[in-house]
Amino acid sequence: MMFIDPHAHMISRTTDDYQAMAASGVVAVIEPSFWIGQPRTFVGSYIDYLSSIIGFERFRAGQFGIRHYCTVGLNSKEANNEELAEGVMEILPRFALKEGVVAIGEIGYDEQTELEDKYFRLQLELAKELDLPVMIHTPHRDKKRGTTRSMDVCEEHGMDPSKIIVDHNNEETVQEVLDRGYWAAFSIYPSTKMGNERMVEILAQYGADRIMVDSACDWGISEPLGVAKTAKLALQRGIPEEHVRKVCYQNALDAYGQSGQMHEDDWLNPAPIDQRTVYEGNSILRGGRDPLVEDATTKRDTDNLIIK
């Protein structure tokens, strides 16, 4: 089965993770811009970060046969540094239309401050101007009210819920998000967000319409195989295969494909040799090295001594 991980901070992950994801069936990832653990204090750091996720990270993923897309935005934590936030708002339009940018995001609330609110709204307006979907990060704390408020604000700005993905849902938020017509994403992230057994229960209860599963893997203790493992568990526990396919693949493609920047052909029918592409195809690297996914399983074994 093919998977899309529509929320993965690959810039923080190793090549081993890319290998394992490719071997598990992941064909595409979406890298939302977020904070990098350590706050940025200059707009220049932001510019270089965004350049990395539209450039080199895309190339890196392509080497493993994984298509890489991203979202750009000012995250809610750093919205509280007003000087930085003003600088970022100025440079966002030059990144929002880059190839493979599928949404403005992840944006929304952290502590729900006035500054967070201000920049959330400005970015919704930018998404509207550029006709891009929006990825919403719902807060870790005061989540239920923060989620409701995020949707209220979207509607105040006349946004179309069918172009908005509300992420990091849980049992307490999912009903309202679906009722109001938004896409509901779930991050299978150990200890703090969603576990995959709970996820399977949610799929059993709510079905597969407008629901998607992601790993949100980043610099923390997280699981780049979150989508693949959830799919496998769901199948084992009797979720229909078609539902699994929707929540682990098709819905992400339908939601973010609205940007016009993400097409199934990107990975199913890539141009064979295209100067302008950074995609190396699914099996063998150019230059004739061996398929990368094959030795992924034995590589971490220190008895496998030889390094060529």
């Binding site: 539209i54 895309r58 339009p93 030059r94 302008r276 150019r286 230059g287």
Partner: protein, 297 residues
Amino acid sequence: MHNSPQTPYELLNRWLQARLSSEQWGWLEQSCSASLLSNTNRGLHIALGMVPRKLGKADLALSDTELSEAQTAHAGWVPADWSVDGTARVLILLNLADRKPDEFASTLRSLCSTADVSEAIAYYRGMALFPHSAAVDEQLGEGLRTNMSAVFEAIAHNNPYPLQHFDDHRWNHMILKALFVDSRLYPIQGLDDRANPELAEILCHYAHERWAANRPVTPELWRCVGAHATPDMLSDLQRASQSDSRLEHEGAMLALSQCPLKEAAAIIAAFPETADAIANGALTWDALSYRLDSTTH
């Protein structure tokens, strides 16, 4: 119809107009002027970003006549595999160079620093057409340091800029990097003319490293060695000529055939069949590169 030679700017306009719908062409004309008139670069950034959305990403697919017009307009300009979006971006930048000459180099550098891969490829392919300056030249140096092979090749391959503007140091490092990133040498313009003794020495050292690591040496490497080989290097060429790899053997033999040292002839004579193929024109660097491409792609 067009009797006087045309500038690259005029050609880009004509090629695009012939390929775009009137609505698309109208958008491009309007974007060229509107985005350039404002004092901030916001409009320019949005126009450049909108190009593939508005105009698509098809191949430009120039005819042979159009390609020869390109050569006439600017020596060495080969837009054979340019795309519609890349061409439109180059056109927008040529407009900018014309209207805001003082700001052009710094704007170009800033655009390159935040370019996505398609943009970077378009800008570097267009470099030879932009007004030349020290700042533009520095940006080329920066571009060569990329890790993305497609961006590197936008500079190195089918581009007259390196031949016209790179000094030997930068030239030699471009050749060496092409080998490091498994890129081909033959699409580099001026490959034979710009070969030099220092490059030959660096390349032989590199071949020794590859041999020490039991890694293959690409036959193209020897193309930049033959004409400048010292007696020491002849033993390297001899070793390569004895390679089990047919292509490596042929590469070394071609290089030896370009070597003015008289000892080279003796090495060649040990392989009469290959020597004949070289003498009668059946084996050339082009033929070798063609076979190299068809065995690895």
